[in-house]
């Protein structure tokens, strides 16, 4: 009964969607969105168009999604009991333990690099942040949540970093408001955009990248560690 009903309902939604698709034809008839790619360099100094959109044109969205991560991490940290559960019941072999210990710094460095070079190469605050958090998570998986919390980054430190990053992000927006006439403004503030393609380019974008990277990294780490602890 329920299955038949479900089949009917989802089937009609699929039918409606496909009908819309067929009525629309190929999307080439539709109006194409603005092509940011060619004006990115001129407007922002960053050569990675995706990063430029995320941290300049639509930076408010990014602020919003960073807020979502923040909210989720603080709610989950509240939900999780403060227990130090081990992720795996069997101890891993020494080879893995040492191997991971060897790899972890590289993962972190790679993460930092992705954040810092986000405006000139593929990557950005989010990607790099996820890498950072993954290093924390790998540590927790291999060496138990408790060990991770006591040795690498205690929860409080993570929260400090996350809050500080959020503060920095919002404050960077205010720079634009006070000196450029618009919140989250970049080129308008008078900050030199630098030579496109070099590390010191893109005005405020690298700074926002770094703030976001820390925030995402710590936020996701908090979320995942909290879920482990559950």
């Amino acid at each position: 009964m329920r299955r038949t009903l479900a089949l009917l309902i989802s089937g009609s939604i699929v039918a409606l969607g496909v009908t819309t698709l067929m009525l629309t034809g190929t999307l080439s008839d539709a109006i194409r969105p603005v092509d940011y790619t060619l004006r990115t360099v001129r407007d922002t100094g960053a050569i990675n168009a995706v990063t430029a959109i995320l941290f300049d044109y639509r930076a408010l969205d990014t602020l919003g999604e960073a807020t979502v991560i923040f909210a989720a991490s603080s709610v989950l940290a509240f939900l999780a009991p403060r227990s130090s559960a081990s992720m795996l019941s069997v101890r891993l072999s020494m080879l893995i333990l040492y191997g991971i210990a060897f790899l972890l710094p590289f993962i972190m460095v790679f993460g930092f690099g992705t954040i810092v070079f986000g405006h000139v190469s593929p990557g950005g605050g989010f990607t790099g942040g996820v890498m950072l958090s993954s290093s924390v998570v790998i540590f927790a998986v291999v060496y138990s949540v408790g060990g991770q919390q006591s040795y690498v980054l205690p929860i409080l430190v993570k929260k400090y970093v996350e809050n500080a990053a959020m503060f920095v992000f919002v404050s960077l927006g205010f720079i634009g408001l006070f000196s450029g006439g618009a919140y989250l403004a970049n080129a308008l503030t008078g900050i030199p955009l630098g030579e496109p393609g070099s590390l010191l380019s893109g005005g405020l974008i690298p700074l926002l990248n770094i703030a976001t990277g820390f925030k995402v990294g710590m936020g996701l780490a908090l979320i995942i560690i909290s879920l482990f602890a559950e």
Binding site: R2, R3, L5, A6, L7, I9, S10, G11, I13, V14, G17, V18, L21, T26, L27, R32, P33, V34, D35, Y36, T37, L38, T40, V41, I47, N48, A49, V50, A52, I53, L54, R58, D61, T62, G64, E65, V68, I69, A71, A72, V75, L76, L79, A80, V120, S121, P122, F126, P196, G197, V216, L220, I223, I224, S226, L227, E230
Partner: protein
């Protein structure tokens, strides 16, 4: 044509997610279905910016054909939001399981009418 096929696939994926949302009673499965739903939207968003034989939008040469950047930025935002809400749902599900002793939504029904 690539695009209509994948778009149809995304719509069918949505249908699958809806089917699962109505039939499954395990909370984790509901969460997975919502994830599938989000993935279908993400597929469409990414597809909107896709062009055959275009480069990734990192502008090193002015005369090259690049993929549109905006859908990528949107999908990145949507992915993050989807991940966060998934984590939240899982957290609530675990708490409900711990406090109410069941993982089935139809056993939860305390309030009728």
């Amino acid at each position: 044509m690539l695009a209509p096929t994948i778009l149809t696939g995304a719509i069918v994926l949505t249908g699958c997610a809806f089917y699962g949302l109505i039939t499954h009673r395990h909370m984790i499965r509901l969460v997975i279905c919502l994830n599938i739903l989000d993935s279908a939207v993400l597929l469409v968003i990414v597809l909107l910016g896709y062009e055959p034989d275009a480069a990734a939008p990192i502008v090193r040469q002015a005369d090259l054909q690049y993929v549109l950047g905006l859908p990528h930025a949107l999908s990145l935002t949507a992915i993050v939001i989807s991940a966060c809400t998934t984590a939240l749902m899982l957290g609530y599900a675990v708490r409900v399981h711990r406090l109410r002793g069941t993982v089935y939504v139809d056993r939860l029904t305390r309030w009728r009418g």
